[in-house]
Subunit: 875 residues, 2 copies
């Protein structure tokens, strides 16, 4: 240690041994052992063999593990890595965790860098293009305005020439060992930053095989899976809290101060630094999150404006005025048989007014805007990704990436090995070979199981939704029996609220369950590569989680109240419970409440409970455990030299949580995106709530990454992969759902039809009257007429909300001509809206070029300069 | 010449001079001049100066041109190219055309190859993966079945080991001069094939600038545009007709025999060879055309089956039987006022039966199949493109391509120069600088002109369609006045046929006109780069041409007969011409006729006239001109040494047509794709006709490329670019048009509605009766009732085809409840069909991975092998 840089940490665990003393003597001293490690390892393995007696319960004996470690480490040495072991004997340490530090010497590093075509700055710089004239002034103004929002992070790639005020950018070219003179190298130790070094070591580690003892396993991942090592991770740069001066911060401190900090909430994220420190995958995630959050600003503002417009115009809205008008004196039919009474339309006045807030003309425009916004968002992200791709030198990544990710998963490799062993055994016993038919059968059997699992979860989701519905129906009918009129009045409100809370809880619980189910099902499928595993897992858990989150909302939007029947002919379930119906002013307001509650509840609870509370509790639990361990250690009266040893960075890092991939973070955001886009027509405030959440979320995640987890392997990837496709899918689907929400859930279309087709004077007056149908009291089947009624002495006709022929027509109570024309109009609106939104989205996507013009010009210029430089150096 | 390979030809033209003798003396002898060319050039330019007197009418004087040539050629020499001039003095040649042959020496070639990262075979080969077991057997069977369809062309990349029957593929790696030992080099002369050499020369030529004499111009393209050189092209490999043995064929002969030959019509195309000879752009075009043609086979077969199904089931079809049933004795209302008579429904019996052939349930399934097919086609092409990209080593192309294509267009550069000159002049005169507002005004003015041009052409198209409609209306009403009953019977047929032929002619003529307009408008826009020009031109001409081709079909499908009114209340245009109506069995049959006529007519005429006849005539004209020239030359009694000189390859090539890009070829195919997909619901035979056409088209185009045009520059491109987007757009749009055709043009939906909603017994019987409405004769406005009638003594009620309330209802002749329910059903069907088709297409696109699994595995293997090889060589 001391001098050489620690590029990677492997750690493994000894089972607690009885005879620790013996071991500590045989291992050789305090000096770091670099070579010959084999001797020591051999000795060690011998010792381990003795200790393995009490570890037989594990799958591999300790002896085997030690042998594997030995061979693996020999392989690493052969590959050119330098290994450093702990000074103290590992046995002395708490729980017997031993660390192996790996260092990569320059010769190996440069060879790998050349093979992986890592780009390195050459000696030439290229002038950054500045626009002149008005465009240039505009640029200056914008950059001045942006300055306070820029994080205070030095940029290595851009140099400012203080005299000419021209920015220069360093050019980069793939590293070639033979041409070191081309590159701008200050010292071979700092040419590649820590993340790059770690990545290269990780690459070597994953390539090193140990064929002798571990058979087919390929690299570190299978050793990790078998428990030979318990973890392998690169090191953090140091502590995250600053002690020194501001310009001596290491990168982790920089990130902690300029990024993972609520104080810089209004600033852009230092994306380049994040990428430099954590690698491209995490950099891309935060860049994406930043773009998403930033682009949420316009729809939030507009959503609030739409909402305010609703508030301001509610008094001029004719239908809700008519609903509230007592003079019209419209008597409505009872909402259930026998126990329900007739009621006055004006009693739902306030609900009608609230409904208008979310169900006005502006909402339609807002929905169209949102589908355009979705297209803009996707395009904007594409552009940003392209810019990042170029500034992060990811253009020539395809090959490397495939090579790295095409490794077999350890689980798959194991299964393969087992199968081979079986085949061998069969061949030995001279059994006939498995006929291929059986293999296929097995295959289908597997898929059958997986599909069954999926179907079952779907079934569970639907039954959960249906369960809540049944709860509401039951509660409603039970409470309706209550003779107390005051209780009756509050019934609907109470039942709705409890129903929604119930829904939310179910959604939250099931989400966690489904996450586990998705992992389980994917592991059953036994995908070949890590990449495939990831993809399938994402797909499954996205499918399950989104279904879970959206099923209750879909129910309210499209099914609730559609099958309720008409007075005198209500539809019943379970014998005598009526199908539930929406409140008289329409289902939209209920959809709105449901959506806002689930969305807010989910975000609040997930952010607070799952992202703050649970990690805290885990940590607490661990510290308690540790202390217990310490106490026990103290009790067993071991020598306490170990306690004295200063805590190294790797000890601290090991105490952190391991990195678990960015998929859960993406998933959360994608589901949120679903809430924002799918039903935006019913709840224009959704973007604003999402924006609020995300601003906090970014810093929360940042803090998690900087302070709470181990440094992840710097995974290179050039796009956000399957998530982009999922986003596209959601955007497309949202056009359809919004079209249906506007035309079927809201009253927009019937109102328009009334205004332009049936209203005599082109105004809305008379709409309420028109949207209700007549019912003849004498047509109540026996036993269904209200038994007690407060409203007496009324004419023979009551009203209900539907378009049906009046009792006096030839075919009474069938759907009227109006019904069919409104239906046609609704459907026509769906077609119109869907195609308009799709066309506009395509237009937006087509109008915004994937590669920004400025980037293209810059690239062209850089290429020219690089070419010139190379040609010049060549001659 | 002789020894060195000719890699590129530049040619320029001297104006005919009076004093040719003098020149031939001063130019230096017979030896090829390589260096010092400057001296000679100087001398020459002096001469040219003398001769330039009579060339003042051209924009640049001959003298200037010669100076430019001189500087340019000096630049080429500096870049390392070797130049060879004609042996004879150029003045002696016919029309004074002089050829400059360029040769690229190895040193320059290898440097360029390294810079452009051209991949070259290394010494290692990689085993081609063969599947074993059932899959392997299946592969063998398939390849055996495919063998007769494979062209007889040697494959350089794959070597067969005769002992182990394993195929080996050569690995490739970017060329690096310092590591020549890595590569499998037989001779430096043959390492890069002719196309690659030409491409490298073209690259150098386009990079060479001549700043002194020609100011800003960049490379050859601007010199060509200014007429300094008249053309620049690489050479063909030799004559295309074979004389020697079969295995001594050069590549051009190979192509001629194995590709541009009707005898091999059933074989696959030798795509790799095409790419090798013509470059990637043309290779991709033919690969695409091949995939398209191949994939047309299933829909052709299915289309024919659907058609046959129609023929077989026509006798069991209830509605057409009912129409033909004389016993029902349905009397129909007159189709026009006064002159038309009542008529029997059974008189349109045959048309109804014909209509059924294209309007049955199978058509709906076929339309869904076709949208799936479109998705499959696009995905399949993506995969094929990906395979080609890998086997043609195009993966790392992005940068190079951008560099090459980002050159300024010469026209733009010129305009820029003019503007600069203007600015300078203004600055000299101390005029105030152009205020930016004016610049923007100019900009808008330009766009305004272009948009106006587009609008005008749109207007022309619509008026053309409307003109034909008016023609039909007029003819119909004039002919209807004809008292002869026989003439009356044939009126409809004649008018329809002449109308369609008229339409077709208009379409054909306008297509050519629009091509010219598109070029003109794009040139007005003055795009910056060649790429942008290409893209805008393609977009404009695609827009205009497709509008032109599809407008009449859209009219018939969606507008004809929709605004005809009802008996007694017909809609009139121009005072007293009735809007035309479809034939009683529906518009579908007319749509079908229109579509088939335009599609077939367009293909036949375009193939025969534009692709065969016109080139032939051009050629004939040129030979006549040439002979005239020869005669004149003979008459002027010049010495005839020139005639004796054997015709070199470059002379022959110069006599060929220049290459004009693949855009027109793509355009033709894309419009055909539109015909195949947009209205396939009305004409299931379209794919079959397209297939027939394409099989011929491939060979026709092949012959054109091999024998009739100069060898084009080998342009590298890694995909078919904008055409893919256009194809996607058409596919998406076709889903919508097909949905509307099925639901609004065909009778499918009303029939379904009748069967499941109104029919008492669930069968179709009574549908004809139900689809007609009653009309009371007494409601004819005065003067509109038929004046003479053959059918007398009928009841007061006549029938017409519409859903309206009967005369005895309260609101007579308004749309009935049936009308609205059928409309709702139609719209619902559109939504259902559109979303189903879109969903299925997305599913198909998602299920088919973009990169085939076998390719991925192969790539992984190759990469591993290459890495191993490189690492091995390294140590």
């Amino acid at each position: 240690d001391g001098k050489r840089k620690v590029d990677y940490i492997l750690c493994y665990k000894y089972k607690k041994r009885r005879s620790c003393k013996r071991l500590s003597i045989s291992s050789n001293g305090n000096l770091p052992i670099i070579l010959p490690i084999r001797l020591e390892a051999e000795a060690e393995s011998g010792e381990a063999g003795g200790a393995a007696g009490d570890a037989e319960d594990s799958k591999l004996t300790e002896e085997e593990k030690a042998l594997m470690r030995e061979e693996f480490e020999a392989g690493l040495l052969e590959a050119g890595l330098q290994i450093e072991r702990d000074k103290e004997d590992s046995c002395l340490k708490l729980n017997g965790i031993s660390f192996i530090r790996l260092h990569i010497p320059w010769s190996i590093l440069s060879r790998e860098a050349e093979l992986q075509k890592i780009k390195v700055a050459v000696k030439k710089k290229c002038e950054l293009r500045k626009r002149t004239g008005i465009a240039g002034m505009w640029d200056t103004v914008i950059s001045q305005l942006n300055r306070p929002f820029q994080p205070d992070v030095p940029d290595n790639d851009i140099h400012k020439d203080s005299q000419s005020h021209v920015n220069f950018k360093t050019l980069k070219h793939s590293f070639i060992r033979d041409k070191l003179h081309l590159y701008d190298i200050k010292s071979t130790a700092t040419l590649f930053d820590n993340a790059t070094r770690s990545r290269i070591v990780a690459e070597i580690i994953s390539r090193t095989t140990c064929t002798r003892t571990c058979q087919t396993t390929e690299g570190i991942s299978s050793l990790l899976a078998r428990g030979v090592y318990i973890s392998a991770f690169p090191l953090h740069d140091g502590p995250f809290t600053r002690r020194g001066r501001k310009d001596q911060r290491n990168e982790r401190q920089l990130l902690h101060e300029e990024w993972a900090n609520y104080g810089v909430m209004f600033k852009y994220q230092p994306v380049d630094l994040i990428r430099k420190y954590f690698g491209e995958q995490i950099g891309l995630y935060f860049a994406w999150l930043g773009v998403y959050t930033q682009l949420l600003i316009p729809p939030s503002v507009l959503g609030i404006i739409v909402f305010l417009y609703g508030i301001l115009t509610v008094d001029t809205n004719v239908p809700s005025q008519e609903t509230c008008d007592d003079n019209l004196n419209i008597t409505m039919c009872p909402l259930c048989d026998a126990v329900c009474d007739y009621w006055r339309l004006s009693s739902v006045c306030s609900l009608a007014r609230a409904s208008y807030l979310f169900d006005n003309g502006a909402t339609v425009l807002f929905a169209i805007f949102m589908s355009l916004w979705a297209a803009c968002f996707l395009e904007h992200w594409k552009r940003r990704q392209m810019c990042l791709k170029h500034s992060w030198d990811l253009t020539s990544l395809e090959h490397e990436e495939e090579r790295v990710q095409d490794e077999l998963r350890p689980e798959y490799a194991e299964a393969l090995q087992e199968k081979k062993a079986k085949l061998k055994a069969q061949a030995k016993k001279k059994l006939p070979r498995n006929c291929p038919f059986l293999t296929y059968l097995k295959f289908f059997n597997l898929y059958f199981t997986v599909s069954l699992g999926l179907c079952f979860t779907i079934f569970v989701t639907f039954s959960a939704v249906f369960g809540v519905v049944v709860y509401r129906i039951c509660m409603l009918s039970v409470w309706s029996m209550n003779p107390d009129p005051e209780a009756k009045a509050s019934v609907r409100m109470t039942v709705t609220t409890t129903g929604i809370i119930l829904n939310m809880l179910v959604v939250l619980v099931l989400e966690e369950v489904y996450g586990a189910i998705a992992v389980w099902l994917t592991e059953l499928e036994l995908p070949k590569t890590e990449e495939e595993f990831e993809e399938r897992l994402i797909f499954k858990s996205f499918f399950l989680k989104s279904m879970n989150a959206f099923a209750p909302i879909f129910y309210v939007a499209f099914f609730k109240g559609r099958f309720a029947g008409r007075p005198g002919d209500y539809v019943y379930v379970f014998g005598d419970y009526r199908m539930e119906e929406c409140a008289p002013p329409g289902c939209l307001i209920e959809l709105c409440i449901q959506l806002s509650m689930i969305m807010l509840g989910k975000q609040l609870i997930q952010n607070n409970v799952f992202e703050i509370l649970i990690p805290k509790m885990k940590k607490m639990y661990r510290t308690i455990q540790e202390e217990k361990g310490k106490k026990r250690a103290a009790e067993s009266e071991e020598n306490e030299t170990e306690e004295i040893r200063p805590k190294q960075q790797f000890d601290k890092d090991f105490a952190l949580e391991p990195f678990e991939g960015v998929s859960p973070e993406y998933m959360e955001m994608i589901i949120q995106y679903g809430f924002v886009s799918l039903f935006v027509a019913s709840f224009p405030l959704a973007p604003a709530f999402a924006l609020l959440n995300n601003v906090i979320e970014i810093r929360l995640d940042a803090a998690k990454f900087v302070t709470e987890i181990r440094r992840p392997d710097a995974v290179r990837c050039k796009d956000i992969g399957i998530w982009y496709n999922i986003l596209c899918g959601i955007s497309k689907f949202s056009v359809i759902t919004n079209a249906f929400v506007i035309s079927f859930t809201s009253e927009f279309v019937p109102r328009m039809v009334y205004q332009y087709m049936y209203s005599g004077n082109g105004t809305m007056s008379g709409y309420t009257e028109h949207s209700l149908s007549y019912f003849n009291v004498s047509n109540f089947p026996p036993g269904t007429a209200p038994t007690t009624t407060l409203i007496t002495g009324v004419s023979m006709c009551r009203r209900y909300k539907d378009y049906r022929d009046p009792p006096w027509a030839s075919d009474a109570y069938t759907f009227s001509k109006q019904y069919w024309s409104v239906l046609a109009a609704r459907l026509a609106f769906v077609i119109f809206f869907q195609n308009l939104a799709m066309f506009l989205s395509m237009l937006v996507a087509w109008m915004i070029p994937d590669v920004p013009r400025s980037l293209r010009e810059q690239l062209k210029k850089e290429n020219m300069a690089l070419m010139e430089f190379l040609l010049g150096q060549d001659q």
